[in-house]
């Protein structure tokens, strides 16, 4: 999950500069994309150009990074020659050390065809290096929203209207930092709802989502551990509710033992498939209060990650003592002999 958390990718769709002469239209920068890999401490920038088939042209790229809106060119990131470009997309991926990136950045790529008949074109993209946004669910009563966005400046003097602000926004509608379940049994992750809005052209919200629970006593052994932490995690996916909001369901099948209530992501003999997270009955007291988290890596038009913590508490046993449980067993001695029972003879 760390890798997923650490990668902040900012894909930009095609923005085509306006042509200033007829030749200019044959070479187009069709995309600019930034991927940040914090674990490798570098930033990969990728652009695509489109050149019609059979067009032979030599070109090279200039990459610039302008940070913290100073408009000062601080580095020429990469220059490379291209020969015999075809109409295939070409990915150019220079690396940039993250230490050189500020909070507010602009990446600029310019293509210089060596043929003087072509006009240099460039794309710019501004971005913030946010990393994972920590969300305070306690404020969710106020419909707290978290957004990520950046500004794409199309470097065409003829058509500045193509400049664009891209934003993804997530608004939590009923997230809580304290979830109290009336009974000790299971946890339904679909209780959390949120609203998504953004420039996402997809008809669905994509991303990676996880539920994590801090397993201090190592009781949830059949759930995967998040790296070397004590958090167990379960992948989630998004589902749409009737009210238009999004909520979560478990991404893969989840099982539990109907007797011990031990949960597992893998099927085991006698385990039953479920859509809720069950908690082991043998350790009721230790699991009555749990530290949990939700992690969301939204892959909308931008990419951004957020996580929030909440406490999950059970205030009542599900089954046990009749004075403190939702269900219990009542027993009565019965001396009656006239009941039609199933009798089994046991040879000892």
């Amino acid at each position: 999950m760390k890798k997923i958390i650490s990668i902040l990718a900012l894909p930009i769709a095609c923005l085509l500069p306006s042509a200033t002469n007829t030749n200019a239209s044959v070479i187009t920068l069709t995309g600019l994309e930034i991927n940040v890999n914090q674990s490798e401490n570098n930033l990969r920038v990728l652009t695509r150009i489109s050149i019609p088939y059979d067009t032979k042209v030599d070109c090279y790229f200039m990459w610039h990074l302008i940070k913290d809106n100073t408009e000062e060119l601080i580095e020429q990131i990469h220059t490379m020659d291209f020969k015999q470009c075809t109409n295939e997309y070409i990915n150019v991926k220079p690396k940039l050390n993250l230490n050189k990136i500020g909070t507010n950045n602009t990446i600029k790529v310019t293509i210089y065809p060596k043929d003087t008949g072509y006009v240099p074109q460039s794309l710019e993209m501004s971005f913030n290096l946010k990393g994972v946004v920590k969300v305070n669910f306690k404020e969710s009563d106020n419909n707290v929203g978290v957004s990520s966005g950046f500004y794409i400046k199309n470097n065409s003097p003829l058509d500045p209207s193509k400049d664009k602000i891209i934003e993804d926004r997530v608004t939590f509608t009923n997230f809580e930092d304290l979830v109290v379940e009336e009974k000790y049994l299971n946890f339904d992750i679909s209780r959390f709802e949120f609203n998504y809005s953004g420039n996402n052209s997809k008809s669905y919200l994509d991303g990676e989502f996880y539920f994590g629970i801090y397993d201090k006593y190592n009781l949830l052994n059949d759930l995967p551990l998040y790296e070397e932490s004590l958090y167990r995690y379960i992948p989630l996916k998004i589902t749409s509710k009737d009210n238009g909001n999004n909520s979560f369901i478990f991404k893969n099948k989840i099982y539990y033992d109907p007797v011990t209530h031990n949960p597992s992501l893998l099927y085991k003999e006698n385990y039953v498939e479920t859509d809720k997270l069950y908690f082991p009955l043998s350790e009721v007291e230790k699991l009555k209060s749990n530290k949990c988290m939700l992690f969301m890596n939204i892959k909308g038009y931008t990419n951004f990650s957020m996580s929030g913590d909440f406490d999950l508490q059970f205030i009542k046993n599900y089954f046990g003592d009749c004075s403190n449980s939702e269900y219990c067993v009542e027993n009565n001695y019965d001396e009656g002999d006239n009941i039609r029972e199933k009798v089994i003879d046991i040879k000892l």
């Binding site: 049994l185 299971n186 539990y256 109907p258 007797v259 209530h261 039953v272 498939e273 479920t274 859509d275 809720k276 069950y278 599900y318 089954f319 009749c322 449980s325 939702e326 269900y327 219990c328 067993v329 009542e330 027993n331 009565n332 001695y333 019965d334 001396e335 009656g336 002999d337 009941i339 039609r340 029972e341 199933k342 009798v343 089994i344 003879d345 046991i346 040879k347 000892l348």
Partner: protein, 128 residues
């Protein structure tokens, strides 16, 4: 001669009484101690459409038989266990696999003249 017969009779009666008491204690303890295991043999089958904990009759029977065998094999040659399944709310008899009520009986001969027979009902109930 009469005195000897009298003494032997007394001894025989005492030993039979001792055996009888031991066997009774063993089977009664076995029966009562079902209370500690059987009530917890419930299963939760919400995903299968049951909205509350249920008893699985196959598990109830295997648990009871195993409990009886392990506790009574040194005292009895054979015993009888009986099972009657019902709905804990309506008390109606049920023949489904999953139920909310079970009545377990235990019977055995302690001596040719003394029999053991007890039954206990276990009902899963919802508390408000």
């Amino acid at each position: 001669m009469i005195a000897i017969i009298f003494c032997v009779s007394i001894l025989l009666f005492s030993s039979m009484s001792l055996v009888s008491t031991t066997k009774y204690s063993a089977i009664d303890n076995t029966f009562v101690s079902l209370n500690y295991s059987l009530p917890n043999e419930w299963v939760e089958l919400e995903p299968e459409g049951y909205s509350q904990p249920m008893y699985d009759r196959t598990k109830v029977e295997s648990t009871t038989i195993s409990h009886v065998k392990s506790n009574l094999k040194s005292h009895f040659e054979n015993v009888q266990v009986g099972f009657y399944y019902f709905d804990s709310e309506t008390l109606k008899e049920l023949d489904t696999r999953y139920i909310t009520g079970v009545r377990v009986s235990l019977k055995a001969s302690i001596t040719p003249f003394r029999k053991y027979s007890r039954a206990m009902s276990y009902s899963i109930v919802k508390k408000d």
